[in-house]
């Protein structure tokens, strides 16, 4: 409880600020989302990196691809989210997202998000 209070008192900047004003309104400060309405990031987002196509999905999903941030800022937010909410699910030695990679992927937005997400979740379930 003390850590967030101290962080708030010292100010929010960089990727944490971009998360707050761009993503947090729906995904919540603690990344738990709203069950049935907004998917949780906490305990979930890192799992996508363990299956083929998951790394790309995390950039191509509409909320990320269309975020009003430039490629470098967006890459920083995704890396921040993985560090904050990925936990032990993030594979060791993972290469952080780079601005160039994010720029390339976000220009190929998903046209059938629900299907791709469902298939990835099934793959995650099988990989357990």
């Amino acid at each position: 409880m003390l850590a967030p209070v101290l962080a708030a008192a010292q100010g929010t900047s960089g990727a944490a600020l971009d998360y707050a004003v761009t993503c947090q309104g729906c995904h919540r400060a603690d990344g738990t989302g709203t069950p049935g309405t907004v998917p949780a990031l906490a305990g979930s987002v890192g799992k996508f990196l363990r299956v083929p196509g998951g790394r790309e999905f995390l950039v191509r999903v509409p909320g990320v691809a269309q975020a009003p941030l430039d490629d470098a800022a967006l890459a920083a937010v995704i890396n921040w989210m993985l560090a904050r909410f990925g936990g032990d699910d993030v594979p060791g030695g993972l290469a952080p997202y780079a601005a160039e990679e994010v720029g390339r992927l976000r220009r190929r937005p998903l046209t059938d998000v629900e299907r791709v997400r469902r298939e990835l979740l099934e793959a995650i379930g099988r990989a357990r």
């Binding site: 967030p4 100010g11 707050a20 400060a29 309405t37 975020a67």
Partner: protein, 182 residues
């Protein structure tokens, strides 16, 4: 004393004596402690999470003069991107919903500059849901707002998502933190 009252006295006394015989003071204290901890934990349950997001003591508005310091004004500094009826005029406050409404856990978030200290504060515009439109203190301000196709940054939408009712009553402007550009 009537027979009825005497009978009631007898029942209560016997109950109290039995309770005292079968319950130690230590167990009573431990149960009382558990109850108190449980009560303290209640605000952490999901129903209260939206209201629990406020982390930072809001800056002091006492030195502000005129509308920028008046939570019932559209020109109040926190309202730089609000679109809706001010909860301050509807039985709530700038950061609390009126009784009988539920704060939406989903919200849209922007920053507003405090005219006193010059800092940019992160403001969460949560809708209060569960009653019909308040119809008092209607405001439309658009600092940092984006077009409708960027839904996460658009305040024309009704943000009663994840609530029991989709009916919107009014909007609050909760201070979440201080934005510092690094």
């Amino acid at each position: 004393m009537t027979d009825g009252r005497r009978w009631l006295d007898h029942v209560v006394e016997r109950g109290a004596r039995q309770l005292a015989r079968h319950t130690s003071r230590r167990s009573f204290l431990s149960r009382l402690g558990a109850a108190l901890v449980g009560t303290a934990a209640l605000p952490l349950l999901p129903v209260a999470r939206a209201a629990g997001d406020e982390r930072l003591a809001a800056p002091d508005d006492a030195a502000l003069h005129g509308d920028v310091g008046d939570p019932k004004s559209c020109n109040y500094w926190r309202h730089c991107a609000i679109d809706g009826f001010l909860c301050s005029c509807c039985g709530g406050s700038q950061s609390a919903c009126p009784p009988g409404t539920e704060m939406s856990p989903l919200t849209w978030i922007g920053t507003c500059r405090h005219p006193g200290d010059g800092k940019d504060y992160i403001i969460s515009y949560n809708d209060c849901c569960g009653q019909s439109l308040c119809m008092r203190c209607r405001c439309t301000r658009t600092e940092g707002e984006r077009p409708l196709y960027l839904t996460m940054k658009n305040n024309d939408l009704l943000w009663c998502f994840g609530t029991q009712s989709r009916a919107v009553n009014c909007s609050v402007a909760v201070v979440l933190g201080v934005a510092t550009r690094s």
